[in-house]
Symmetry: C2
Subunit: 210 residues, 2 copies
């Protein structure tokens, strides 16, 4: 017989505690760095005793690996689901504009995970980095495909180096977690500006309006 | 009587040792983070005994502050000098394209300083961060002025939010230090792609060719 959902499902007390530990670890890791992240501080923030963390994660490094990895995995799921829900006739350039919006909004919503992953990518041991790198490659493949589809339409400007353009664009989006705050300017403005830039770069400006 | 240049000038042995300590600290800080940076490791890399560092920097935090701050100060000097050397008739949008090239090439040349500053901005104590923030604001002011001058020409696309566009562009440039390596693609290709993107976004594409 299956267990009741409240005991083992995603909304169970255990799953919620696990999530609270991850959120706290992302917060501390993004601010203190890999070497400066202490489990006692994570436990304090998650309102737990430090040993309780070991019920959910075998070690400090396992917890940190999960933070570094799950932010990108969540992003990939979110962007892939957004693209899958689009009408088939959506143009490749419009798909890129919509993926950029999904990336920006999700990144700034889960910004502790994003900045923890960004700031610590080169600081964590290689063992922890492996799973994050695999996720980055899988997520990057979504964008690579989007750009290739846009190139196939023949509408891209001549001489545009697709892979450099893709990396520069992703950089513009990723970096937003380092400067954007709701009190500086509305997120909608940033999203619209990014989309307008994409349409101008890739040659669709004036053709599509959402 | 002035001291001979070789004793106190920028090429003196002392100045060269100081530079070697800073380079080593930038390297370690970008890879180990603020909490993980040990002076013994910096000294090893700079081929010195650890106490020799204290001849040049009063404390570990003074050394780290200098790394965090000097990368941005150097960048500001470099970009400001590049802009000052341009013929007066250079168009505002072309100035932005040229500033982007100067930023990218300098950033990737001093990449340990760049990535150390990027990755540790939120991890260092507020005291260390202050001077870096002041420099960031001063450097940002150069870009703000460039965009304002471009807007005054009336050639920018309608409805483009200048400050969001500026921050997204700077993000694209800054992020390059996280992904670019000479073996992936030539730096010239990245520079040309960034410049072509800028001209398309700001409306100068096809008008100016370098």
């Amino acid at each position: 017989m299956a267990q009741p959902a409240a005991t083992v499902g995603p909304d169970s007390k255990s799953a919620r505690t696990r999530k609270r530990i991850l959120d706290a670890a992302a917060y501390i890791l993004s601010r203190k760095g890999y070497a400066g992240t202490r489990l006692t501080e994570v436990a304090d923030l998650a309102d737990l005793q430090a040993p309780a963390i070991y019920y959910h994660f075998p070690s400090r490094d396992d917890l940190i690996e999960e933070v570094m990895w799950s932010g990108i995995a969540d992003m990939r799921d979110h962007v892939a689901a957004t693209l899958a829900a689009l009408p088939e006739e959506t143009s490749p350039i419009e798909r890129i504009a919509i993926a950029a919006e999904a990336h920006l909004r999700h990144e700034l919503q889960i910004s502790d995970y994003t900045t923890a992953a960004i700031r610590n990518a080169a600081q964590v041991p290689a063992k922890i980095r492996t799973r994050q790198l695999d996720e980055e490659i899988a997520y990057g493949a979504i964008w690579k495909k989007l750009f290739e589809e846009a190139a196939e339409t023949g509408s891209l400007p001549d001489h545009l180096d697709l892979s450099s353009a893709r990396m520069l664009l992703l950089g513009a989006l990723n970096w937003a977690s380092e400067w954007w705050t709701p009190d500086v300017r509305p997120l909608d403005t940033v999203v619209q500006t990014a989309q307008s830039m994409i349409r101008r770069i890739l040659g669709d400006e004036g053709v599509q309006e959402i």
